[in-house]
């Protein structure tokens, strides 16, 4: 028998760690989508630079949506901070051993990059802006006519997108105290999940875009139109949406494989990791893991999208919406179950 009692009862620490609530899972989810959108947007920009307008279709919407979402993520992050007024301290230093420090600086580069990427085609979609701020039109023209500059921006999007996506996983995985997080596959897993959620979001946007209506001209109407309307009077061609679905099928399959490897890795590692494995497999997080993440978030959309591509069922937004649900559930699960997981010791305790 081993009985352990303690007089400590610090809030958010005892009986189990609960320092991060909904803000950090939301931030990790949104950050993952932004990373996915940057990579997909970068690919679309490369197509655009080649003059392939069908596949380059998302070169405006991906960075624009990413920019909007990043703001949501930043607000969530700020809400989580307990010492908010000192947030500037992050940018007084660079701490090479801290993933959070890396992430803060990466985000500082991602912001202007997303803005620059969105501005390439924004005057086209939001004429009011081009009229009111001629500098933006000049900036856009300077890029639109120069494929090599668009290619450079595209590659910056892809490289920084990969960095951002992996960072959201590494943020957790460097902590030895939390066995569920302390696995090297978490970075790639979050990257793939972010890509899949990004593709799902673009797919949702392309379906929900009101087709064949002239773009609104005004300040507010034009801004909203730029985000939710197709460029010009044409809705995206079917091949553009199919490109996203095909990508998502592959990404979901890879994500499933990585989750399998994560579980095998946990089960075959130390007793602490095995206890973390139990948390997901049969513990209090099992329903969220099996029911919501694996079945609803991965298997069902994988099946539906495969059937859609095989022309066996009609295209709907259901799989894309489920992928987003799965994406958030993955972050929620990892953050919450990870805080419960701890080092299992039979010797000293």
């Amino acid at each position: 028998m081993l009985e352990f009692t303690t007089t400590r009862h610090n809030p958010q620490v005892d009986p189990v760690l609960s320092v991060w609530n909904w803000e950090i899972p939301l931030y990790l989810f949104v950050g993952g989508i932004v990373a996915g959108l940057m990579i997909l947007g970068g690919i679309a920009m490369l197509r655009m630079a080649r003059g392939d307008d069908t596949r380059g279709y998302f070169s405006l919407h991906a960075p624009l949506a990413a920019f909007m979402l990043l703001n949501v993520g930043m607000v969530a992050l700020l809400l989580d901070l307990a010492h908010k007024l000192y947030v500037w301290a992050v940018y007084l230093t660079f701490q090479p051993t801290s993933p959070m420090s890396w992430g803060s600086w990466v985000l500082l580069i991602v912001y202007p990059l997303l803005m620059a990427s969105a501005l390439i085609r924004l005057p086209e979609a939001w004429p009011w802006l081009a009229r009111t701020v001629p500098a933006i039109k000049r900036w856009s023209d300077a890029l639109l006519g120069r494929p090599e500059r668009i290619r450079l921006l595209a590659w910056l999007n892809i490289v920084l997108g990969v960095a951002l996506g992996i960072y959201t996983g590494i943020l957790l995985s460097t902590m030895v105290a939390r066995p569920l997080w302390n696995v090297s596959i978490l970075g790639p897993l979050f990257l793939v999940s972010g890509l899949s959620a990004g593709a799902a979001l673009l797919h949702l946007m392309s379906v929900l875009l009101p087709p064949k209506r002239p773009a609104p001209q005004g300040m507010i109407g034009g801004a909203l139109g730029a985000l939710v309307q197709p460029l010009g009077p044409q809705a995206p061609e079917k091949s553009a949406a199919n490109w996203l679905i095909r990508a998502d099928v592959g990404l979901l399959a890879v994500e499933l494989l990585m989750l399998g490897l994560l579980l095998v890795g946990l089960l075959t590692a130390t007793a602490s990791h095995a206890a973390a494995f139990d948390l997901l497999m049969s513990g209090r997080f099992a329903i969220a893991f099996w029911g919501v993440l694996i079945v609803l978030g991965i298997l069902v959309p994988l099946l539906l999208q495969a059937l859609e591509l095989g022309h066996r069922i009609a295209h709907t937004i259901v799989p894309a919406a489920l992928v987003l649900v799965g994406g958030y559930t993955l972050r929620w699960l990892m953050v919450n179950a990870g805080q419960v997981s701890g080092i299992v010791s039979t010797a000293a305790r």
Binding site: E3, N10, Q12, L81, M100, S104, T174, A177, I343
Partner: protein
């Protein structure tokens, strides 16, 4: 440079919590929070039971995960004997250090920054022992320079059986428990 550490004799500790109260008073620890606490471990089957009572706190690890993960450098290893400290006006309250500590030694101060044991470095600077050590009625706690072979702590570690908490975490804790 000195390398401060603590040696606590669990065979003498009765769990009176004097150390806890001394710390709360000395460091104005906010109500409902604790920088040090008493852990009791009972092992075995009745009637052959053994009990270990430990006064626990931040281990001021030689390889501190809380310092490595801090994005601002607020968590740092101080020049005074390698004591692990938090600079409140550099801390953003991200709580990464709370998640990174395998011992749960940190908490968020109601003012928003991460807080924990400082080995009473303000007393150590004056050549005094930390408050918890100085009040212990059974004299089971010892504080000093682990690198100085003449110090009480180094001598005790050479001549007694000891263990640290969660050595498998690789944090190299500097609070030792004599058993």
């Amino acid at each position: 440079m000195a390398r401060f550490g603590m040696v606590i004799d669990t065979r003498k500790c009765v769990g009176c919590m004097d150390c806890v109260v001394a710390c709360q008073t000395e460091n104005d620890v906010p109500l409902g929070h604790a920088r040090d606490w008493i852990a009791t471990v009972v092992r075995g089957e009745f009637p052959s039971l053994s009990m270990e009572i430990r006064s626990e706190r931040c281990n001021h690890c030689d390889n501190p995960p809380c310092v490595h993960c801090c994005p601002t450098g607020a968590s740092h290893v101080s020049g005074l004997g390698g004591i692990v400290k938090v600079t409140a006006n550099r801390c953003i309250g991200c709580k990464a250090c709370l998640a990174a500590c395998p011992y749960g030694a940190r908490f968020v101060h109601p003012k928003g920054y991460a807080d924990k044991c400082t080995f009473c470095d303000h007393r150590v600077k004056e050549g005094k022992d930390p408050a918890c050590v100085s009040v212990c009625p059974t004299h089971c706690m010892h504080f000093g320079d682990l690198d100085d072979p003449q110090s009480t702590v180094a001598t005790l570690l050479r001549t007694s059986r000891w263990h640290t908490l969660l050595p498998e975490a690789g944090t190299r804790p500097r609070v030792y428990f004599l058993t």
